[in-house]
């Protein structure tokens, strides 16, 4: 019931987001036809504007945008004349999604074990090494790590290709650059979560029952300890998609981040608006999923 309400609440929320974005983009000066291929005469310009309905009043354009949106149609791209925004998203999304998903797996694959290990070895050598790793990763931004990886692993030692996208070997460096940062965050959250859980009363009870330490950890400790990581995972996935701006620029990967930047620089309203909506929908649903997973992990969490 609660989640039904949440989903219904999403509709006005996304409406407002789309309205705000639409208004903001229209306020930005510069027409999409400023930069290049400037139409030869005012007449042609007027015709182009008419074709893309840029001559109508703004509220009418917004109505049109919303109507198309309900049909899952983001309209034509203003820059790439023969493409619709859907085409561009269809081209970019799989690339960005696979990059993001691989980085997500890497972040969890490294972060969770390191977090658990450091929590269980608290105050010993393993803890210090692991925590130092996590802290370092948190403080090294993608745009510092990625050029360094390229410079040494690709250019200097020729282990991996310098750029582009396509094969498994192409994916290694971008995924590393994107995923390592989040592995640090995940490790810190996991450590904190596990430390807090292992002090809880129900863990004492489990120990008092005579369970082995492994059983206590696996059966009782791990699930609630995952909560901080889970609540971070939603925004993290959205971040991975936007954080890929830099990675996609450096490695020249034809994903959504590159599309967004180009669209923004070319004032391709419909493309930018479509992508912002896509990100917003994604973020909202990820947060919803996070809240849902919460109820599965921790029986104490109850929504009205």
């Amino acid at each position: 019931m609660y989640f039904l309400k949440r989903i219904l609440w999403l509709i006005p929320l996304l409406l407002v987001v789309s309205g705000v974005c639409f208004a903001l983009l229209r306020l930005t000066p510069g027409s999409p036809f400023d930069r290049e291929r400037r139409p030869a005469s005012p007449e042609i310009e007027r015709q182009i504007a008419a074709k893309y309905h840029l001559d109508e009043p703004v509220w009418k354009q917004y109505g049109r945008f919303l109507r198309d949106l309900l049909r899952g149609d983001f309209g034509p791209s203003l820059k790439y004349r023969n493409h619709t925004v859907n085409d561009l998203i269809r081209q970019g999304l799989p690339v960005s999604m696979s990059l993001g998903a691989l980085a997500f797996c890497l972040a969890l694959g490294i972060g969770l074990p390191v977090g658990c290990y450091t929590a269980l070895r608290r105050g010993r050598w393993g803890d210090y090494v692991g925590s130092l790793y996590a802290l370092l990763m948190v403080c090294v931004p993608v745009f510092v790590l990625a050029p360094l990886l390229v410079m040494f692993l690709a250019v200097r030692w020729h282990w991996f290709p310098v750029a582009l996208w396509g094969s498994v070997r192409h994916a290694v460096l971008p995924v590393l650059a994107l995923g390592l940062f989040y592995s640090g965050r995940v490790a810190r959250l996991m450590r904190e979560g596990l430390l807090n859980t292992m002090h809880a009363e129900f863990i004492k009870t489990a120990r008092a029952k005579g369970l082995s330490e492994t059983a206590v950890l696996l059966r009782h400790g791990l699930r609630p300890a995952l909560l901080p990581v889970v609540s971070y995972a939603g925004p993290m996935l959205a971040d991975l998609l936007t954080g890929s701006f830099v990675v996609e620029t450096i490695f020249q990967i034809p994903g959504l981040g590159a599309a967004f930047l180009n669209g923004f620089l070319n004032r391709d309203y419909s493309l930018v608006l479509g992508l912002v909506m896509l990100y917003a929908v994604l973020l909202v649903f990820l947060n919803l999923a996070v809240d849902f997973i919460y109820t599965l992990l921790d029986p104490r969490v109850k929504y009205e």
Binding site: L13, V16, L135, V155
Partner: protein, 308 residues
Amino acid sequence: MSEGQGTTPLSPGRRAWRRFRQHRIAVASAWFLLCVIGFAVVYPPLARYGPNELSAAQFAPPSAAHWLGTDVHGRDLLVRLCHGARISLLVGVAGAGVCLVMGVVWGAVAGYWGGRVDSVMMRAVDVLYCVPSIILAIVLMAVLEPVFRRWLDAWHCTKTPALARLGVLFLALGAVSWLTMARVVRGQVLSLRSRAFVDASRVLGASPVWILRRHIVPNVLGVVIVYLTLALPGIVLAESFLSFLGIGVQMPLASWGSLLAEGTEQINPIRIYWWLLVYPGGLLVATLLALNFLGDGLRDAWDIRRDS
């Protein structure tokens, strides 16, 4: 005197300061940051080279003449790094200022008035949370920049483009980072509002503005300071991120992000100019580390977790 635990109780600020001084890593971080700022301010006027001074020594590796080497135009990296530090830290502090004002005012008003005002204001925060912050910052910058340019032109400013970009960066980065601050402040204010001393003040006929200024704001100050230091690395990072993509600070000005972008452009299979990446990157990472430690130290000192 300073060690006295006598009859007069210490103010919360004093107690926090005392606890903070025992946090060794945080104090070291504060010193490190002060050194970076001091060096960035003092060194460039004393240096032999200007930040945009070209020379024949292209891509000179670090040496006695150029301590950190030179870039593609033969410009001294150390001087440029100092200027970058000024810009990056300035944007961070100014962005934090915008974040502070917006977040505190928004949160305090919503929390204090409550009811419908509160729910409308907090729904607005929810809506903004739905848009990834970097995207929002980019869109905001595009909207605000022409406004700023026109405004600066009206003042007959000679460096309009670069200054306009800088001002817009402050605003956009501040404007995307106040959301958490507003939520935290609102929560604090909500709990303070129902306390006895606030009721007493209201019964005595104090106006809402007086109550906010006299009772509420001083009491949320600790939380605000802590969240501000925690927001600061995020703002510095976002500025570098935008500058790296080429939509942050503009040409004659340099920031750590744009220096890193210049270094990345020079990656080629023939020669490796590691100093162009390692030094700006290292300084950025060290600064972010120090800011994080500082935030942690302040949080422990004000003991936020036990409070809330």
